[in-house]
Subunit: 594 residues, 2 copies
């Protein structure tokens, strides 16, 4: 018994056993089953995908179950960790100021695809490209999950929030030759999968045991049909393609100069205007950040993650790079007519440290994953601020808090599309675990009680998002090429002295002045990642003008970030920026802006 | 002013001037215009594409206008040469015994795309991939043509006749750099067309001035959308792709091992079961007969045309090849799981001599085309039977008649899908012109009065078609691979002596015995392309059995071909086959077959 590759709902019996599914024999009793449903039978009440411009977008990456599963979520017990539970938290998301949620995989996956004794929590092990994950429904009925998913989408849209799905089209849950036969393998193994040269083994470009043969004509059609289904019938607003570079490989694994699948997606009228975000690399050496095929795709910019981390932990040789990251990475996206927003700027995501752990751990602590701490990346570019793990030292804690605010400030002020990670706004911790894919527990869930303890961070992020939506630096007007944007911004770089930026190897500071898109504001930003305070000269102003201090992460709330009307006037011609601090000053160039 | 590349109807003003369209300036008054129409507004009365199996198919290639334009058609004057006029001739087609009509291009084309003083009659100069050719409507209203086209399809389907369109997706009527700007060139020249390396000129792989960039993502989608439109909204049953090998080239003109467009077409669920016939070569050196991409495409088999012509004009070294052609070309299609029917067996088509001219001219006579007889192929493998052109010599005329019957016999008895050319059943002539694309005149129209003069040929073809549909050699049962078919047919080759076929260089004769698919008949065929009679031994039979003579092209009608019940018994153990004659004997192996 096999699943229908086009089935829109899946029922998983309690007796389902992944390991039994790998053995020959009658599997009728224990197999997952496709459930027939007519996807047209749903009252959308006029709902449509939102098509919000990227220039206005702030993405929030979340795990449907982890978001509300924790008892502290105050969601009704039967709805915790479900599509329905998420609806209860829409006001929270709205207040936070994000505009799109990006769900970790919600295609039906095999939660048993994990080492013995563990579960697959993240969901990157699909058994269907059409059915929403059944266990995220609050009821056991497979068809009810379908409706519940759509109720959630409809509710999010009503709140103006877009939905982006993290989609896994690079491999399936059927694993390697020893894995279970669930669907594709049993139908047409050598069509669906990329095989090694002698065709006796799976090519594994994904690190997951198999590789979907994405440009094979039937597979290519399947993937297109899936995407069209999720937009047409499920009203999602976009996709983040896991290991997207796999989709650029041919059936022998070679890189295609013009992969038919990627052009199919890019040129599909039904998909036009949806967000298409590539994780532009794979696990077998392809790396395409800045060079992913097509004109309109967005890319996860891992340079942003790494270079901002390096700069804020005061690594040598990091100033020039961080300058490029703040300006939308013109070194990567300054070619052709790319827009700044094609760079998805992230510091953290599900894979790796949370933001709290990034400033609390020098090393990963993955012992709970059962692999002797060998799994997960060792290259985290993190800094524990002096103590490994939780600390009662108030100085350490204050520094961590400041660093968290520094990260958020750089990320939400930089040109490009920011993506935040669920819970970072409350310093969610995974206790140093940077690969928590196999934990469906308090380790990976969002502990909502942290919002009280770290209310200043929560407030800071909300204020930053509000600032971002208000200012006209990046988010006003139509999308335009990064190059033209930078011409209009007229960026000037400074050091502690005006016009003399310190690009040297040992520099840990930088300042800039730039003009907003419509010319209504002048911004002056100062970054001090150094362990001593630095006093920066400020650009001189006319007599009737004055800088206002919008942000200074060295100050306690509520002075750390202020809305325009409450921002203090800066009278002096110089400003002392404290160690590990970021300051943003602003000047309104016309009265109406005040 | 440009045409909409997706427009479903085109209006051509009387003032349209192709040469004016090549000059800059306001073209509003003289341009062709797209007409908005909703293709869903038509009452199909339950009509559906017929999906007739290839094993039952006999194709008749015709020109919509040429078919009924001649006054002798007895179609009402206002309907002559139109879609409506064709409806009047459905009984004729039905009686002839063909099962599908293949129309020369009916996409709107530029009839001025021809040298000055001439018109483009054939229509291989498209200006639209969606609109039916307006001038084939009996009324001037562009939308009326749309309805009239569908009325014709519906009427053909009611008579059990399928419709195959000859589609030109390899170039357009925009010509070379000096050509008119009608549509694509004005929208996105370097996307729609393949350009030379320095991008200053069109690549010309078609001999028509430009080359459509068929695997470019937008163009690929356009072509798919066109095909889907003609099936979904116009109910056509299949396509013959002009210069189909162009569709296997990439944007630089290189051959793609897996052309996305061809796989898109082959794997499209909506196109599944439609006939997809490739002219598997192009004008720049690609030749893919027997190796066209995909599993299900059919191909024009030019080896069939050439080898049968060679054999019947008694060329040396032609016997081995003609044997392969009769058996479905196993040397070309004997690989993988190809079916015999993937070979489209033709002797003549619009391009080249008509069948009458093939047996009446040694050389082409294209003076009327205005190019000093330099156009058209010089390699016709024809034989004038002793006199160049029309002849009053009764011996010559009788030989030509016999040769015409020989060609029809070989073609309609061979394994594979036969395609006949309009009018060959009445010995239509183009007076030796083998490239009559530019003549919209009696030279190219079907002169229906020929049916009286050559009534014996007409009768012969009708009888052959009936015989083909009745026998169970090829046309009964499901499609199966050519290899398995040949195993079951148990073919034995003979010469004048049994079991001793003469494969020598100077041989001009061949005989064979084969068993029908269900084992109900034994057939014995004898071909004598030699200029002397040859007496063939017949396979010995049991005492109560007797061969019946179904065909002997040396005999006058009605003895040349006889239905089963009227076929004479052949008493002798040997049979004298006259010069340039074909004989077919049959034996029923069980009583019910008689």
């Amino acid at each position: 018994m096999l699943l229908d590759p086009y089935g829109v709902a899946v029922a998983v019996p309690h007796t389902y056993d992944r390991w039994a599914a790998a053995r020959p024999g009658d599997n009728a009793a224990t197999a997952m089953k496709s459930v027939v449903a007519d996807p047209r039978c749903y009252d959308w009440e006029g709902d449509r995908p939102l098509r919000r411009p990227l220039v206005e977008t702030v993405i929030y990456e979340l795990h449907v179950r982890g978001f509300t599963r924790h008892p502290s979520s105050r969601v009704a017990p039967e709805k915790r960790g479900t599509y329905a539970g998420l609806i209860d938290k829409i006001p929270y998301l709205k207040e936070l100021g994000v505009t799109a949620v990006e769900f970790l995989p919600v295609f039906q996956f095999d939660s048993q695809a994990a080492p013995k004794g563990f579960v697959n929590y993240w969901g990157y092990q699909p058994v269907s490209f059409f059915a929403p994950h059944h266990a995220y429904g609050s009821r056991t009925n497979a068809l009810a999950a379908l409706d519940e998913f759509r109720d959630m989408i409809k509710a999010l849209h009503r709140a103006g929030l877009e939905v982006i799905l993290d989609v896994v089209f690079n491999h399936t849950a059927e694993g390697d030759a020893g894995g279970p036969t669930l669907c594709w393998r049993g139908l047409a193994n050598d069509s669906y999968y990329t095989l090694d040269r002698d065709r006796s083994r799976y090519a594994d470009y994904t690190g997951c045991g198999n590789t979907l043969n994405a440009n094979q004509p039937i597979v290519r059609r399947l993937i297109q049909d899936s995407l069209r289904y999720w937009v047409d019938h499920m009203h999602v607003d976009g996709f983040r393609f896991d290991l997207a570079s796999i989709l650029a490989r041919d059936e022998k694994g070679h890189l295609l100069p013009n992969p038919p699948l990627l052009w199919d997606i890019e040129s599909d009228p039904l998909l036009a205007g949806t967000k298409l975000i590539a994780e532009a690399w794979d696990a077998a050496g392809l790396y395409q950040v800045g060079s992913f095929v097509g004109d309109t795709w967005q890319e996860w910019n891992d340079h942003f993650r790494d270079d901002v981390r390096r700069f804020l932990r005061a690594e040598n040789g990091s100033v020039r790079s961080v300058a490029a990251r703040i300006l939308g990475s013109p070194d990567i996206y300054g070619h052709e007519e790319r827009t700044a927003e094609q760079s998805i700027n992230f510091i953290t995501c599900h894979d790796g440290f949370t933001l709290n752990d990034l400033v609390s751990y020098d090393r990963k602590h993955n012992e709970a994953n059962g692999e002797g701490n060998r799994d997960g990346t060792a290259d985290n570019l993190s800094w524990n601020c002096g103590v490994e793990g939780p600390s009662d030292d108030l100085t350490v804690e204050a520094l961590r808090n400041r660093q968290v605010k520094n990260f958020f400030t750089v990320q939400l002020l930089a040109m490009g599309t920011p993506m935040l990670l669920m819970g970072d706004e409350a310093r969610r911790t995974q206790r140093g675990n940077n690969n928590a894919y196999c934990h469906d527990s308090e380790l990976s869930w969002f502990d909502w009680s942290l919002l009280e303890r770290h209310g200043d961070i929560h407030r800071f992020v909300k204020a930053l998002n509000a600032f971002r939506q208000r200012r006209d630096v990046v988010t006003e007007g139509q999308a335009q090429s990064l190059n033209s944007l930078l011409r209009r911004a007229r960026v000037e770089w400074h050091g502690v002295e005006l016009g003399r930026p310190d690009w040297s190897e040992t520099s840990h500071s930088l300042a800039f002045t730039l003009r907003s898109l419509r010319g209504r504001f002048l911004f002056h930003g100062m970054f001090n990642a150094y362990w001593e305070p630095l006093t920066f000269d400020l650009p001189p102003l006319l007599a009737e003008q004055a800088w206002r201090r919008c942000i200074d992460t060295a100050l306690d709330a509520p002075d750390d970030i202020c809305p325009w009307h409450a921002a203090s006037i800066v009278g002096q011609p110089r400003y002392a920026v404290q160690p590990q601090s970021v300051v943003l000053l602003a000047l309104a160039l016309d009265r109406t802006s005040e």
